[in-house]
Symmetry: C2
Subunit: 101 residues, 2 copies
């Protein structure tokens, strides 16, 4: 499995709109076992995205999906910064979907 | 929802054993919507734990479960440090279980 953890900082006041775009554009991605969007509990502009994919290639391929491309285009103006990016090798746990799509 | 992201650094050589203990002790926790254990892709001693709970109270209550208590007791000697702890307010996405237990 392949995992990503990262923070996105929205332009001030735009976090909710950015989160909605991310959730809308990422509902159906082949090989995606988990994709969660969360507000940072203390920073009003920060979102955390945590992802689990069957393979790194599935993640890479998802970036070319029309819905994801549309989300990137729509979301980009609302993003001030990316940070805290970590690549992981997920081992297991609770909350992994089948990955079928 | 209530979320946690955090890193655990194992004592050298003990990451696999620590991950196994965490996965074993956390399989059935009421209100747990996602609990994932992942190796850091570059640091050979580091694990990332990402959690989503229905409420902060469910997370708190889980710490008293016998299986979780046993995992804490067994895992503690293998943990060198906790770091990068972030509290989140998860909004949604793919890979949330029903939370029933």
């Amino acid at each position: 499995m392949y995992g990503l953890i990262g923070m996105m900082t929205a332009t001030p006041g735009d976090r909710d709109a950015l989160a909605a775009i991310l959730l809308e554009g990422t509902g159906d991605m082949a090989g995606c076992l988990s994709y969660l969007v969360a507000n940072d509990a203390t920073d009003p502009d920060a979102l955390w995205i945590t992802e689990v994919w069957d393979t790194a290639s599935s993640h890479q391929a998802s970036l070319a999906l029309p819905a994801v491309q549309a989300a990137i285009a729509k979301g980009r103006p609302l993003i001030r910064a990316f940070s805290n990016r970590v690549e992981t090798v997920p081992l297991g746990g609770t909350g992994l979907t089948s990955g079928a799509s």
